[in-house]
């Protein structure tokens, strides 16, 4: 099968997946107890008329499949409706927070790769020695540490006691030096678990690669060890790292929910959690759908890259 046909087939496969995701998203949100009406009225006096008019406003009296169809039709036109808690559009609310989450997630991924890959290579090259052992322990600790605890610890040490960085986001543009300096702590916090994963992954991939014939050949030809590792071994090892990095997109978005609260960072994670708590259904549906789409697309990209690197897997 040619690469083009493979990509086409793989892309078409995502359509039913996304459709399934949309049904699940819509259905799960509907399963939550409580309705937007409860949220809007909370502990206030109300009349049956007022409750009925609010129910009508949110289409709560339509059959569920009608509600789904209405919603999907709008979503296909990128219209996610209006928020329950205010009169603003869902699209604007999501768009306002997407850059923040992308920068935080990107920063965390960068931290994870910059720390994890070199540590993994080092551990593989110095297999069995103290460096290898230290990286193993650090990786285990990194995976086991709850990220909200790590975040608060970093805030206390670097923000409060050493007073080196601000504890809350500076009032500055997203891509300013101030904002990026602030982002160091949350990015490290969020990236720690992924860094640990990349360390172990890189170590096993490099170890496996080092046992191959071509490495022995390259060394026999008298190539310097650094060239062997960086030019040949690492390139081949990174294929699996790239694949896992795609899956990490979901993991990082998941972690961002907590980290954004700890660091008061105005991203999608906080929007999602609050929308769930307030039964702001349109927002929950939009964000979940966006995240699911991001994960599906990331996986698609990983498959394509993989197929391009290794023709044997185009079945």
């Amino acid at each position: 099968m040619s690469l083009r046909r493979y990509v086409l087939r793989r892309t078409l496969l995502t359509v039913p997946i996304l459709l399934g995701v949309s049904v699940l998203t819509f259905g799960l949100v509907k399963l939550l107890p409580g309705t937007p009406v409860d949220y809007v009225l909370q502990f206030q006096e109300s009349t049956p008329e007022l409750r009925a008019s609010l129910r009508a406003q949110y289409h709560l009296d339509e059959p569920i499949y009608t509600q789904y169809a209405l919603w999907l039709w709008d979503v296909l036109h990128l219209d996610f409706g209006e928020r329950v808690v205010s009169d603003r559009s869902v699209r604007a609310a999501v768009a306002a927070r997407l850059p923040e989450t992308l920068v935080l997630g990107g920063g965390a991924l960068l931290v994870a790769l910059l720390v994890g890959v070199p540590a993994g290579v080092l551990a593989a090259v110095k297999r069995g020695g103290p460096v290898d052992e230290a990286s193993r322990i650090a990786a285990l600790a990194g995976i086991a540490t709850p990220n909200f605890w790590l975040g608060l610890l970093l805030i206390l040490v670097f923000g409060v006691h050493l007073n080196l960085v601000p504890v809350i986001p500076p009032v500055a543009p997203l891509l300013s030096l101030e904002s990026l300096a602030f982002l160091a702590l949350p990015a490290v916090t969020l990236g720690t678990a992924s860094a640990a994963l990349f360390t172990r992954l890189t170590r096993s991939a490099v170890t496996e690669e080092l046992r191959r014939e071509y490495v022995r050949t390259a060394r026999a030809k008298g190539l310097p060890e650094r060239t062997v590792i960086v030019k040949h071994v690492l390139r081949n090892s990174l294929i699996s790292v790239v694949t896992v990095a795609a899956v990490q997109v979901a993991v990082l978005l998941d972690g961002a929910v907590v980290i954004e609260r700890v660091f008061s960072w105005p991203g999608l994670g906080r929007l999602l959690v609050r929308a769930i708590l307030q039964r702001d259904f349109p927002v929950v549906q939009a964000v979940v759908l966006l995240v699911a789409t991001a994960v599906v697309v990331a996986n698609l990209l990983a498959d394509v890259v993989y197929a391009w690197l290794d023709p044997r897997i185009r079945y």
Partner: protein, 541 residues
């Protein structure tokens, strides 16, 4: 653009002088205002700027300095002239309102009687309708600065109720102005920016009507008021300790002890207008039995709850009306309710439960639960109540914890009184005693209409509450409310637990003159409230 902040200075330290030029280049804005800035925290985002729609305390807190009511209620609960200079009763149902002249809204339009009428009437059919339509019937404009308001019935809390109605321009009612994007009021501060989940900023209004006095300067000393939205309690405390914020609004109770030891920070507490309680589902046995309910009320370890859950902040509660309203309740009345009805007394509780279970022909232990939301303090006090009940042979109690909206939909469901669980609930009242009683104990307020989750119905209590609401004489009112409270407390549809206090923590060197308003939604009143002789300065001077 705000002045150089501590975080900016800190960053300069980080990147060193070499990077400083670059920083100034990309972080600078349209020039610094040079005025003073107060940075305070909000624990949730501001959701809505329209008073007829905002049902969350955070939003009402945030726009409390943007809009002004006709009368404001000061820190002691007295109604004071604000946009109205006088409110006089003409007969049983008619009040004449004289309005302040020379007041303008932030959009430059003049404030007149037609703005007041439009403000009242746009509440109809909105989620906050009852703020006005509990008493409002009609209004007649006499001239630009005088109007007569006709009430639907005699309404004793009329003056204080005016304090809960922020006046907005007539254009908001006609649809020419959208308050949900552009809040326009007459207050000392005007809306500047709102970055969702990040900050909410107000700036000093240039032409506020106040001319100054010996007590209070004509303009607020603080030029910019920035609320930083910090959801996590520990992050709030860290930001205060690091100096990133000047004032933490309502820091978590468990951090107070640490903050009190911090030399840079002042912590104080003020009695607030709310209480915590256990609500009984009156339609299901054994809670349908009065002796059982009274027995449970005798098992609530209030002193222990106040000291161990709330770090000693707050007061044990034995009756609904907060001590904040000292015209309507007293220490001796609370003591009487404690002795006669609800005070902790395991011995007395056992007798009551014994006879209650006998009368119902139920053989203990009875398995039940306490429903609560996730507020940490509320969960902890519910656990103490659970432990106290489980130490008897009558109950096997567990805790059912739900996230907020699920919890709300359970405790405010129309059949909340038929549930087989007790409910841990908090209530915030206002400056009038009716706000502590009607929504919770009046038969017509049974869920889902409002918040009488027990479905308590007592004709005599209904009659007393109605009569008190239409009685203008304070002494008579007090007697009626004492009578109503006695009946409610002895029937024990709920067990009262604790009267709340408000906490504030601020950086001593940066904030001077701030004291917390006792009621939810008004916490930032002291920033600048000339009608209450209150204002705050920054930089300790």
């Amino acid at each position: 653009m705000p002045p150089v902040t501590t975080s900016r200075r800190r960053l300069l330290r980080l990147v060193g002088a070499a990077g400083a030029a670059g920083v100034a280049g990309c972080a600078g804005g349209a020039g610094d205002s040079g005025g003073s800035e107060l940075v305070a925290t909000l624990a949730a985002d501001v959701k809505n700027y329209d008073p007829t729609r905002a049902n969350d305390t955070t939003s009402r807190k945030a726009f409390g300095l943007v809009y002004e009511p006709l009368l404001s209620v000061d820190f002691e609960g007295q109604a004071r002239p604000t946009l109205a200079t006088a409110v006089e009763q003409r007969d049983d149902l008619t009040w004449r309102l004289s309005l302040r002249e020379g007041v303008t809204f932030h959009d430059g339009s003049d404030f007149t009687a037609s703005d007041v009428v439009a403000t009242f009437e746009r509440y109809e059919g909105t989620p906050r309708e009852s703020d006005v339509y509990l008493w409002y019937d009609d209004a007649t404009i006499v001239d630009d600065h005088t109007l007569d308001v006709t009430l639907a019935d005699r309404y004793a809390p009329f003056r204080k109720s005016l304090g809960g109605v922020p006046i907005v321009p007539e254009a908001a009612a006609s649809g020419d102005l959208d308050l949900s994007t552009t809040p326009i009021g007459t207050g000392p501060y005007e809306f500047d920016t709102h970055e969702p989940d990040r900050l909410f900023r107000l700036t000093r209004a240039d032409d506020h009507w106040y001319d100054g006095s010996g007590e209070v300067p004509a303009r607020p000393p603080i030029e910019t008021l920035t609320f930083r939205i910090i959801v996590e309690g520990p992050s709030q405390v860290a930001a205060l300790r690091a100096g990133d914020v000047d004032l933490a609004n309502n820091p978590p109770a468990d951090s107070v002890a640490d903050l009190r030891e911090n030399d840079d920070v002042t912590v104080s507490d003020h009695l607030a207008g709310g209480f915590e309680m256990v609500v009984f589902p009156l339609a299901s046995a054994p809670f349908s039995n009065r002796e059982v309910r009274r027995g449970i009320a005798r098992l609530v370890p209030r002193e222990e709850i106040v000291s161990s859950v709330y770090g000693g902040i707050g007061r044990p509660a034995y009756a609904p009306i907060s001590p904040l309203l000292d015209d309507y309740t007293s220490e001796s009345f609370q003591a009487e309710m404690r002795e006669d009805h609800q005070g902790y007394d395991p011995e007395r509780a056992r007798e009551l439960l014994d006879s209650g279970f006998d009368a119902l022909d139920i053989s203990p232990p009875y398995e039940t639960s306490i429903v609560t939301n996730e507020t940490p303090e509320r969960v902890r006090w519910a656990q103490l109540v659970r432990d106290s009940l489980n130490r008897t042979d009558f109950f096997e109690v567990t805790i059912d914890q739900f996230e907020w909206n699920t919890y709300v939909s359970r405790v405010l469901a129309g059949d909340s009184h038929r549930s087989d669980s007790m409910m841990a609930l908090g209530w915030t009242g206002g400056w009038d005693p009716d706000t502590f009683l009607r929504n919770l104990f009046y038969s017509g307020q049974a869920t889902p209409s409002c918040c009488n989750a027990a479905h308590y119905a007592n004709d005599e209590v209904d009659r007393l509450l109605d009569e008190a609401l239409t009685t203008y004489d304070p002494a008579e009112r007090r007697a009626l409310y004492e009578d109503a409270q006695r009946r409610i407390v002895s029937d024990a549809p709920v067990a009262f637990v604790r009267f709340n206090k408000r906490l504030e923590a601020f950086r001593t060197a940066e904030v001077e003159g701030f004291h917390t308003y006792p009621l939810d939604t008004g916490e930032f009143t002291a920033i600048y409230a000339p009608w209450a002789d209150a204002y705050t300065t920054t930089g300790g001077g």
